[in-house]
Amino acid sequence: MNKKHLYILCGLLVLVGITATIYRALVLEFPLTPNETTPTWRIETRLEIEAKGNPVRISMMLPSSQPGLTLYNESYVSPGYGLATSAPTDNRQAIFTKRAASGTQILYYSAVLHRSLTRDAAPKVRPPKIRPSRFNDIQMAAARQVIGRIELESADTDSFVRLLFAQLKDPRPGGPEQLLLQAARTRAEVGVKIMTVAGMAARVVNGIALNPDRRRAKLVRWVEIYDEDSWRAFDTDSNEFRAPPAHLPWWRGTSPLTSIQGGRLIHTEIAVRRVFIDSLQSTVGKQKQAQSKFVEFSVFGLPLQTQEVYRLLLTVPIGIFLLVILRNVVGMRTFGTFMPVLIALAFRETQLLWGAILFTSVVAIGLLVRFYLEQLKLLLVPRLASVVIVVILVMTVISIISHKLGFDRGLSVALFPIVILAMTIERMTVIWDEKGPKEALIQATGSFLVAVLCYLVMNLDIVRHWVFVFPESLLLVLAATLALGRYSGYRLVELPRFRVLAGKD
């Protein structure tokens, strides 16, 4: 009954832990290993405007987050300008305004773009209204002619679109397509107009290629066609139903990137740069951008300093779990139950080698003092207090001497929790008195070895990363610890102890 209860509990913990970890890893895309970098680009737009002392109003299209692409860390450099961004309904826009500006004005916009590896399906949207094309009569007649011919040759929307753009790409000289191509700047625009005449909802997409490094990125256009509840991208270059690979859709429609009142645009420059941001940082930024409750109610929602505390604290369960194994499965003897884990925490601050040297020397000196105090027959609490005082003095002296000798590492002795040192000394003397120096040294060595092991495991990059980024995985540690609570096998050290009882066969 009890055991079943325990197994169910452990099973539940494992289930919740694994589910939450998988969710965080696959859906929220937190990196599985430390220092993993994810595809990330920094986009910078530089506008150069000539103003003549009049009020200036500059609007610029902004990219927005969408399935598969997340935008964060947006920043604007626009000295002296008022800034407003419109809500991302259709196209997001930044509007810079200034009462009076003269001379060359330079405005910057930059953002970090994170491309996720999962491909989400395009969201379902309601059918858009079809606005009539602005063709003149001749163009309209030409468009009808093109449509009529293609409709005869095509079976459905897909083949219609394909045929249309194939013909626009390679127009017959003197044909209606050539006439239409003169009516607009790009093939995409012409195609969209023709499709509108044919009663299809379509729009132009303006975007840039996400190349590793492009000082001057060129705008690329492709088409989106509304088909069965969602917009489907169509690449007019390859004549395929897909968005051009590795492109950022910036804005939609035929409007230009910028429109300026009260000034003249001299120059626009879009730069794309691949950056290697630690993917943890980019994921957290991305999730914060998306207002994810999962981030808000997680360690990353805490102030940075508190986060640092948890970075440390969350490794403690790993150390404790290791201690449980070493004590209950291996059977090592240590001072106190969790003292080795606390010593391991202290090693983290001092580095292992110096931590070990300083720890042993302070404990050794403290031990000598404790043996001396033994002769004075003091009461327990004053005796313990005296040991603490001496420990602090010894630490101070070690710091001063090592500093004078130029070993600045010796200063880190101050990072040892004094209480832990004093308790170690006290426990060691009691065991020394009671069970003899051998037992005391066995336990001291045991504690020390366990502390070093705990330190090594707790300090593995991957361990530190996992407990901090996936704290849910500690539920698995909890489940394993609980399960070990009913472990009834032999301890490793019992095997030689009971060797006599193994019998002969």
């Binding site: 069970k435 032999y490 301890r491 095997l495 009971f498 060797r499 009882l501 193994a502 019998g503 066969d505």
Partner: protein, 317 residues
């Protein structure tokens, strides 16, 4: 290594984890622990159940009372000072006599009033108690052991440890102090542990420091085949401890006093596993047998009869 573990398992050797998980956690309720951990309470309960214990000369509970120690000791030439909540024989001092205001320890060394007061102070501050809780110091009758042990014990008092499970004596041994163990009856310290055949009360071969011995290393006398006097009475006292404490799995430490017969020394809610080495037999099979038995085991007589009938020695060769 796995082969060794397998062999131990086949021989029914009980490990610490199994003892804790399957027996102590299952059969010993925590609220009953004070009865065995606090030796003053153990004494009271034992007396209530008509089990003889070493007389309590006095008890010191607070630091102020330490000054009264010489008064308590005035009427007694020999005595034992021990912490009420001590474990594994720690903090116990045996005084065998007085000379010119000084006290003589078992090993002949002399100590002063001040030394004794310091020991009591340490006991009160809790350094010998489990978890470092403030403790009490007991001053009690010093056991003069039965002459049967004279040839096979070095200075200290040999005691008989019986483990009972659900009130049934499961396994027993006698611990014989040696020079190495400093007169203390503690197997870690090098005292001899000799298994006792539950059925007959005769000692089996003995274990000393993980090796099998047949004679006492200090006196040279045989330690196996010795009859433990009043064995039936010892089994009855042990079995009755179940009613005293309600602990399903416990160890009972008894001594045989020259004048007063069997005395209950202390109870232990987490008895050690070395008794298996002393008996050269695992506990598991015996415990399983008791768990599987469906007949009545309500009275002491039934339980002792069951033990004597079922647990004759079958030492592993």
């Amino acid at each position: 290594m796995f082969r060794l573990a397998k062999a131990l398992k086949r021989n029914g050797v009980l490990g610490i984890n199994a003892r804790n998980a399957r027996y102590i956690l299952e059969y010993n309720e925590r609220r009953n622990y004070p009865l065995v951990d606090d030796k003053a309470l153990t004494k009271q309960v034992a007396l209530k159940h008509n089990v003889a214990v070493p007389d309590l000369y006095g008890m010191i509970e607070i630091q102020r009372q330490v000054a009264t120690l010489p008064d308590i000791l005035a009427g007694h030439d020999d005595f034992v000072i021990k912490p009420a909540n001590g474990s594994q024989g720690e903090g116990i001092l045996v005084i065998t006599g007085k000379t010119e205001g000084l006290y003589r320890k078992v090993d002949g060394a002399l100590v002063t009033d001040e030394d004794l007061k310091f020991l009591v102070t340490n006991i009160l501050s809790g350094i010998y108690s489990l978890g470092g809780q403030p403790d009490k110091a007991l001053i009690e009758y010093r056991v003069k052991f039965d002459p049967v042990f004279e040839d096979i014990a070095y200075r200290g008092v040999p005691d008989v440890r019986i483990i009972i499970f659900k009130g049934v004596p499961v396994m027993a041994m006698v611990r014989l102090p040696t020079r190495m163990s400093d007169g203390k009856a503690n197997l870690h310290r090098g005292c001899i542990g000799a298994g006792i055949d539950i059925a007959t009360g005769y000692t089996l071969t003995a274990v000393w420091k993980n090796t099998i011995v047949t004679e006492h290393p200090d006196t040279g006398n045989p330690v196996s085949g010795v009859e433990i006097p009043q064995w039936s009475r010892l089994l009855e006292i042990a079995s009755g401890a179940y009613e005293m404490t309600n602990l399903g799995y416990q160890g009972i430490d008894l001594v045989l006093d020259k004048e007063r017969g069997p005395l209950l020394l202390e109870l232990n809610a987490r008895p050690g596993l070395n008794i298996q080495i002393a008996n050269r037999e695992g506990l598991q099979a015996r415990l399983d047998k008791i768990e599987a038995y469906t007949g009545p085991l309500d009275t002491i007589a039934e339980r002792v009869a069951f033990a004597r009938g079922n647990f004759a020695s079958r030492a592993i060769s």
